[in-house]
Amino acid sequence: MTTKVPDQRGRYGQFGGKYVPETVMYALEELESSLNDAMKSEEFIAHYHEELKKYSGRPTPITHAENLSSRLGGAQIYLKREDLNHTGAHKLNNAIGQALLAVRMGKEKIVAETGAGQHGVAAATVAARYGLECKVFMGEEDIRRQELNVFRMKLLGAEVVPVSSGSKTLKDATNEAIRYWVSNVEDTFYLIGSVVGPHPYPKMVRDFQRVIGDESRTQMETPNKIIACVGGGSNAMGMFYPYLEEDVDLIGVEASGKGIHTGKHAATLSEGRLGVIHGSITYLLQNETGQIQEPYSISAGLDYPGIGPEHAYLSETGRVTYKGITDQEALDALEILSEEEGIIPAIESAHALAEAIKQAPELPSSDVILVCLSGRGDKDVHTIMEHLGGEVDE
């Protein structure tokens, strides 16, 4: 499988593309040519890597989860510690790259969407660092649920714009961010948070996240399996991309929420149908007639109704296998890792970990599983408390 994707039209096989109103086309053309130009500039790339190092604290280490591995009695589990990035997740890799590009393009403002607020915080952070004005669109429902992150963004000097359209969550915040961008494209850069959206966004975000996989390759020998969680899919894409040509099983983990059969899940690849969301053809959760449906997951970072077009492509070609993990399995994994290794993972990342915990005992102890620990769990402590507390009461 050496086909180079995306092609010139931004296609990953039948996925991807640019399904956007004519008013957005100019902005995408401008972005694409600036991006191509920047990616060829040694100075730009050097500046990006310097910021990753001196501002975000990269490279992030790989930790051998020895206690966990011996408790499971099978394959050795290693963790790529994206939780040790500044702001606590892989999100900043991409935010730094895009913000530097925005500055290079002469834009003065950035606009971003956020669900739980992690990408919003990353966007607000880089805006502060590089002297950009920042507006973050966030669903009213999410603002209510994520008070602390709203405060963080404000503290960082960003304006949080409540979105009351549609279901008042991430997909609507994304719609609103795009609408705002279209109206203000002359001085505004749209800083998207995942490998989604119209071309060239999925490619750009992948290329700013591939540092995760590139670093891993220099830090350890190619493992037997690599596992990462997938909402839109940016940490997984960044982790997998440099390994696509290597002899390694790649496994993406979607959120099965309360279980596929309950209808309360975010399992886009297993339950979605081909459709268009935010400018890209991909699998997507929708009803019979094509109205986009609200996904569900305990982790706000995984409940996106679509999935990055390159993941849809990698699923179709069979290069990556996609599995589902429920809320409960993720919570259990989170508890185990906290107890065994003193690392509280983000609930998103706990989905990937849960899959590793399932598979490790079936494998010989000479096998190695690398898990992308995409973020830290501090942001989730309240949610975790509610759930674990509830159990104790029963």
Partner: protein
Amino acid sequence: MNKRFKEHVDGKKDLFIPFITAGDPNPESTIDLAIMLQEEGANAIELGIPYSDPLADGPVIQRASERALKNGMSLEKAMDLVPKMREKGLQIPVIIFTYYNLLLQLGEERFFALVRKNNVDGLLVPDLPYEESEEWRESCEKNETALISLVAPTTSEERLKKIANEATGFLYCVSSLGVTGTRSHFGSPVFTFLERVKKHSNVPVAVGFGVSSPEHVKELKDYCDGVIVGSAIIRQVESQVDALQNKELQKDAIEQIRAYVRDLVAPFEKSKIHS
């Protein structure tokens, strides 16, 4: 060419092309509004299909979509309204305005079967830009359906030429950046843009996004062949939303909206078709 476009749009000036959302607030009102708009001189109707994620639309049309979705409107049901409009005397072309995902789910074959069965005349897909539309352009042509293309002030000269060259029905000029909704005034950049489009276009050039007052119509009429009015009419529908759903008040509500529309297109000095 589609025969209703030929008769009612092609080569004409002072085109009035209103947009209404199918099923807002109910199917009966949509039919009556279409008839009323024809009586007030509409040359074609854009029938908007409600969608959960209308990326190109401002808050007014988003709310209309939500109202219509609540009542279970869909692309197929909306297309089934067209024969009912024809029964009541609608002669002008009907253009289905739908986001691409709805079209993908219905499927190309089923869509054109409905086009033929229900006498639909045109298709406008706001999120299907020129680059992605080749297949649909071909099948529209086969089915004598106009595929309405959009151009924006930011559309490059090169793209504009390509789009204009293949345009059918009319060319939809987006007045300014951003989403649908009302604007306070237009200005010389819009006029320059319209002149640029007219130079390349073989079909009528109509302007939309923000047209909401007789002053706008007056201001724009010399620079284009017509106007598309969406949010401004939907806002009137919104103000009559309860009355439109009340059997006794429905007729009166339509008359209230008629008065607004009549005033809006007065600068066109249209001779009424039916009254």
